[in-house]
Each structure stands twice: as C-alpha cells, then as structure tokens.
Amino acid sequence: MGMVTTTKGQMDEAQLEKREGLIDNDDEHTKWVEYWHEGELVHRSAHVTLKKMPSIDGAIASF
C-alpha cells in the first residue's frame, strides 16, 4: 500500500476506503478515484480522456 495525498495530509492507503468509477460515452472516457476516511471524503482525482471533437466545416460558394 502507498501513501495518498488527502485533506488530512499524507495517509497510508491501508487506512482508507477506496472507491472508483468509470464513465465511457461518445465524448469521453473518464476514470475517478475517491478515498474516504471515517465517512469523510479526503481525496478525489479524475482523469478525463476527451474523444472526437466537432470539426469546423469550411464552405465556399459558386460564382
């Protein structure tokens, strides 16, 4: 087990309850991790991977 940065300073991961989640759709792939200590959220990080973005379409007119 490693150390985790929390609102209470560095804490041993073994002391904490770990919760993880995942969101995956057409726009993003997101992972988040939370650490709880005695019922209190003490750490939350998120990693969002953006997927395809809308493009700007150029247009020209005929004479």
Binding site: T6, T7, S45, A46, H47, V48, M53, S55, D57, G58
Partner: protein, 155 residues
C-alpha cells in the same frame, strides 16, 4: 484533367498559423506561435460558441487553482490529412500534482482554451461529465491528433 471547386487545404492549415488576414489583423511582435491557456468552468456557467474571450465569471475557484487556469504548452504544428487541417496541444492538461493537489469543491464540466497572447481571445470550449476534485489531480488527456479526432479541426 478537370478543375474542382474547393477550399484549398493549404489555406486551412494557414488559417491555423495566422498566415491570412481578410480583416484588420493584430500586430505580432514575432513570428513565434502564440501562447494558449486552459481554464475550467463550473457546471452552472455559460461558456459556449458565443464566448469571445476568457472570463473569470463562472470559473472554478479552489485550493491551488489560479484564476486563468494553466498553460496548454505548445501545440502540434498545424498540418492536414486529406482535406482536413488540424492541431491540438502536444501534452495532456493537468491541474494539480501530488505535491500541490487542487481542491475544486463545486462541480465543473467545461474547459475553455484561449489565446493568452492575443488578449485572451477564446478558441474552443470542451465539455465533459461533471467533476469535483478533493486534494487531488484533474487530468484532461487529449484525443489522437489526427484529422478525425484532434481538438481543433478545419474540415
């Protein structure tokens, strides 16, 4: 051979490098690329296609987050594949670190990319699922830098 009506692909790439100016253009001190920044916005903010420049209104606040956000670092040199020009920053956008964690307690769901060299003019708005950060790190990893996925594409 035959002629084909088209927007020239080279022109699309050159738009990304500021080569053409159909109106009055800003005076540039150098030929170097501009600097760009990324700012996060609350889920309750109104940042969209009508946004013309960075604004502190609706921006997230919290521990170790500086108003205006972070530098995006360099962009990939604009290029094209087929008829689409594209570019995006070369690296992920990371807010906070293990040694300097951020706390953003109010839900946010948007990042504004803007040009800090040119009066903070807006470039693009990207949304994602609503997030909060507690003594942690928020990372935005970019899509593949190609003609179908890059953050900025002129098709």
């Amino acid at each position: 051979m035959a002629n084909t009506q088209a927007m020239c692909t080279s022109f699309k790439v050159e738009l990304l490098t500021g080569t053409h100016a159909f109106g009055t253009a800003p005076t540039r001190a150098t030929t170097a690329a501009d600097s760009f920044k990324a700012a996060l916005y609350l889920a309750t903010a109104t940042i969209n296609a009508s946004t013309t420049a960075y604004t502190a209104t609706g921006e997230v606040t919290g521990t170790n987050y500086t108003a205006g956000g972070i530098s995006t670092g360099a962009f990939n040199a604009p290029t094209s594949t087929s008829t689409t020009a594209f570019t995006q920053p070369t690296t992920s956008l990371t807010f906070g670190s293990s040694g300097s964690p951020v706390t953003l307690s109010t839900a946010f769901d948007c990042v504004l990319i803007y040009n800090s060299t040119q009066s903070n003019k807006a470039v693009s708005v990207h949304t994602f699922s609503s997030q909060t950060i507690t003594a942690g790190v928020f990372t935005l990893t970019l899509p593949t830098n190609d003609s179908t996925n890059a953050l900025i594409r002129l098709a």
